[in-house]
Symmetry: C2
Subunit: 309 residues, 2 copies
């Protein structure tokens, strides 16, 4: 894997460089369902490092979702160092004033990769929302092609409609789960994590009943959904990614009371185990064949949100 800076200089200097390869450097997201292996094969974090540009890349860590940001940072620094990344630093964001500081925006704009660790997605958004750091993250992702990875709460924040919390009920219930606004790199999907391990299908269905035009995305532990903006997705790691498409759904959300069981008819479910790639465009040579309607779902998933800032 080429280092991103080397790659960009190559691409700039060589008109014959494949357009698709250039496009693929743009705006990848690595959406990790939590509990990724940090000691053994580290297949998920290894892929994140590759997508940032490999060992020479500059990786910056945002651990502000955690109640112990320094502890989270130390853990990931050691892990990324073990994967050969020497230039790996924390972006310390203790408060919103710091999130507005030039020091933080410079760190973000200089990164090849940003990694957002877990904790509480609302704590992170309270610190970042509409700050200079927030805008810098958008510029880094949309304009500079920075790879953005997030795990657990750090994965949930990547979508615009962010799943905050909710009981892992057995059956979907009206208003069982709470939504807020996330970073917005994924515009038309709602991301849940620790998905099959914590049996969160019912919780994700509960929010889809509220937002039937969103795609539901459940990412398992030690598993990454890699989103290549406009192109396609790839599943990496140990588990699977579950996609739930409710565009044709009929639900009784409007007829029932809060916490009643929901009727949800006509959902489309796609279970994507690690090791496969699914293109958003017909003719992608690496992509799996898809049943009716699935390519449109993938296209929605890889459609970027609007740039903020």
């Amino acid at each position: 894997m080429l280092n991103r800076r080397v790659f960009l200089s190559l691409a700039a200097g060589c008109a014959a460089f494949p357009a698709q390869a250039r496009a693929r450097r743009l705006g990848r997201l690595v959406v990790i369902g939590g509990a990724e292996d940090k000691l053994s094969d580290r297949i998920v974090l290894r892929r994140f490092v590759e997508l940032c540009g490999g060992a020479p890349s500059r990786i910056r860590l945002i651990s502000a979702a955690s109640a112990d940001p320094a502890g989270a940072w130390a853990l990931y620094q050691k892990t990324f160092a073990g994967l050969g990344v020497a230039d790996c630093e924390p972006i310390d964001i203790p408060d919103r004033a710091t999130a507005d500081s030039p020091g933080v925006t410079d760190q973000i704009l200089g990164a090849d990769g940003i990694f957002i660790s877990g904790g509480d997605q609302r704590r992170l958004m309270d610190l970042l929302w509409e700050t200079e750091a927030f805008k810098a993250l958008h510029r880094a992702f949309h304009l500079r092609g920075c790879c953005v990875g997030g795990t657990s709460a750090g994965a949930a924040v990547l979508s615009r409609h962010m799943l905050v919390q909710g009981e892992a009920t057995r059956l979907p219930e009206k208003e069982a789960a709470e939504l807020d606004i996330g970073l917005g790199f994924v515009a038309d999907a709602i991301i849940d994590q620790h998905f099959s391990e914590r049996g969160r299908l019912a919780r994700l269905l509960s929010v889809l009943a509220q937002k039937p035009h969103m795609l539901g995305v459940g990412v398992d532990e030690n598993t990454a959904l890699v989103i290549e903006r406009g192109l396609g997705i790839e599943i990496v790691g140990a588990g699977a990614v579950t996609l739930i498409d409710g565009r044709q759904m009929k639900s009784n959300q409007e007829e029932v009371d809060s916490r009643d069981h929901l009727e949800m008819l006509g959902l489309r479910l796609h279970l994507l185990p690690a090791g496969h790639r699914y293109g958003a465009r017909a003719g992608d040579p690496l992509s799996r064949a898809m049943p009716p309607g699935m390519r449109e779902a993938i296209a929605r998933l890889v459609a970027p949100g609007p740039i903020r800032g």
Copy 2:
């Protein structure tokens, strides 16, 4: 609710009796996901009794799936007595010779309702398969309009392809669950029970990958799927029924090894909470509106298997 014998004599003697009402006396199944309430409202068992013809009906209990048939019988006898049913007797089937005896077939053919309690579905089928009792059950259901109810293992046996056992894995795996032959009252569906309580979606998906033309049916505890042959279904009780339609599914079942995670694309999922009815024919006035493809799924579910014997 009319007693079945009274009803039939009325129907026979009265040409003006509505044709649909007559048809609705034929071959109802009450598929219960286990752990049905036996003490309080008893809504599920109360509905079973109603469908048998109410308090005056003759209900016979098959508890041979249980390791303690006498204990199971005593429990249900007390419960049905509490619901006003005086004529409620066990059909004792300790071995296959008894299953071939005229005493047992007479009991079956004289019943308004047969209730099959839980335990081990394979133990039950080992006793019944192709015996005279098996054929009598088919005649009772198909020709005499006997209502057949089953709970837990007694629900699993009602389909032709019977889910026997399998680990409740988080994700569907090739060959994770085992199928055998059941009683065959439901021809085109595979029934699982204790469904959302035991998180059995992955197990049911695993068998659907083997049998993609079957409809997957997951019934929750204290919940009944009432199947009215050829007409429609109704959900009764506390939980929901999950239908999974794999007709348009693409899976990698043929490409992977045993116990590998399965890719399953394009499944259709319908979550039906208690309290609703879904007709197999357009224009059913009590039926809920359905999204594309769902009515065909219901029609498959209410299509009877062939009569055996």
